[in-house]
Symmetry: C2
Subunit: 301 residues, 2 copies
């Protein structure tokens, strides 16, 4: 490993620690009644995870010169939304997965009913947190409204939830590339883009900076999914913590199934370039974003 890689890994680990501490602080304590529900909510949030969305959010905030501590509530809120979506996706009525990141899925531990409600609780908690006045001291109150709107839109029926529905509808069907892109720009891309956008707003981005970061977010979000599809095929089970090739076994279209493994890798590399060049307007302050974009794609090579 080069020293550059080592530095990124240190950076990521430190950010994960910061975000995990904040999540622990902001989530209802495990002994808050009803304690089984709060234990279930915490179980999935703390069952591992790369924290890629909150890390991107904090990095976007810093790229425009903002204070990352002011962005921590939004970083935690986006991770709560991501966590709820995984709990619901894993349910027997949905993907019916027993394992997630190598650990039993929420409903395998707490049962289906509590898992549904733990997801509902996490989704709602994100908005409790973002509307809490203590999170916005000395801030233009208009900013909290804006942040909530960005997050809610990206997570809703015309965003993440919409992508999940189309993904399900397309199982066992022949899917073309535009449909696959629709699924991924909605199912995963929307929340990644929203993370970058929220970080930019909280950091006080200019309109130009905001546009550049959004172009970065769109490309990086899709690159993330293409890389995930590739990893699903090539990684071994231990590394991924779920069944290898589980998507293709389920009859889901993936980038490698449509473009071939080499075509998918080329697509990922092009998106990586697009993401990096979107950051041309920034100096060193955007270096973490550049390295994260490289890391996202290169882990699949």
């Amino acid at each position: 490993m080069t020293s550059e890689h080592w530095e990124l890994q240190t950076y990521l680990n430190e950010r994960i620690k910061l975000i995990d501490r904040a999540l622990d602080h902001y989530l209802p304590a495990a002994d808050t009644l009803p304690s089984r529900l709060h234990a279930a909510m915490r179980y999935s949030i703390f069952a591992g995870g790369k924290r890629i969305r909150p890390i991107l959010l904090l990095a976007a905030c810093e790229a425009v010169g903002g204070d990352l501590h002011r962005a921590l509530p939004a970083a935690c809120a986006v991770e709560m939304i991501h966590g709820y979506s995984l709990i619901h996706d894993d349910l027997p009525a949905m993907d019916d997965d027993d394992l997630r990141r190598g650990k039993p899925t929420n409903h395998k531990i707490y049962g289906e009913a509590t898992a549904i409600l733990a997801g509902d609780g996490l989704l709602t908690e994100a908005f409790i947190l973002l509307s809490n006045p203590e999170m916005w001291v000395d801030t233009d109150p208009e900013q909290s409204r804006k942040i909530i709107h960005i997050l809610a839109k990206s997570a809703g029926s015309r965003g993440m939830v919409g992508g999940q529905v189309v993904d399900m509808e397309c199982e066992e069907k022949l899917v073309d590339l535009p449909t696959l892109e629709y699924i991924h720009t909605h199912k995963t891309g929307a929340l990644i883009l929203a993370s970058i956008e929220m970080g930019a707003v909280i950091g006080g981005a200019t309109a130009d900076q905001q546009r550049a970061l959004c172009r970065f977010g769109e490309a990086a979000g899709l690159a993330f999914q293409v890389a995930d599809d590739i990893l699903d095929i090539v990684a071994d089970e231990t590394e991924l913590g779920k069944d290898v090739g589980s998507d293709s076994q389920r009859g889901k279209a993936t980038y490698p199934s449509l473009l071939g493994l080499q075509g998918a890798r080329q697509q990922a590399a092009e998106l990586q370039q697009l993401a990096i060049s979107a950051l041309d307007v920034f100096d060193e302050s955007a270096q973490p974003l550049r390295e994260i974009a490289n890391y996202i794609v290169e882990r699949s090579f």
Copy 2:
């Protein structure tokens, strides 16, 4: 029927029309992609329903002299939250109900996976709507944050979702009155109280008016549930649109099962009195709230 009752019914019908038109306007159109998801979201919202929460919200706004049209987005948001909670409650993993208000439940029409996601979509849509700047023209931006916070807290794991979890945990168990009150003040009471509180805030209530309306909301919310428990025993199936006695068949504790039918009716009457007397500080402007509180309880007599 007395003319007083007739007037209330006219008032309620007009308010239902107003709220239904606003819901139709604010919800994503049925042909918005993914259209099956939006059809599922709309199906449950427009499958009947007394609109009691939005009606109370508008009435609380008017009781303090506010303009009900400014409160319509919040009224619709609370109905979306209520609608999502019914979809998820009816799921096979939860109450496993086939009928709701005399119609097939969401998962019976759209399947379990889409029903889960339609619920998620409605929950998120409430926050998209409340954070939409077009809903808050000429309004202190601090107000949208406040409204979102009231609604999110009441719906979350320490509110409605928490009540639902404890309700499930108590099935087939001997439950005492304090536990039953916990369930109902959380499962249904929290959202009813939040409706009143949001109406008061949007209407520009003074601190005294706000306190009085909250006392009204707490009593009316619990009265509503006691009356519902009584109706579950005495109403015939056509009227209620679900199986008669379905709660007690499922081994759920109810007010009549703990207090007897007469005891439960007395409890409802006491809560009705408490709700009405909380409104003593108001003049005629709170008359609709008084009549709704009477209607809530008296329909079970």
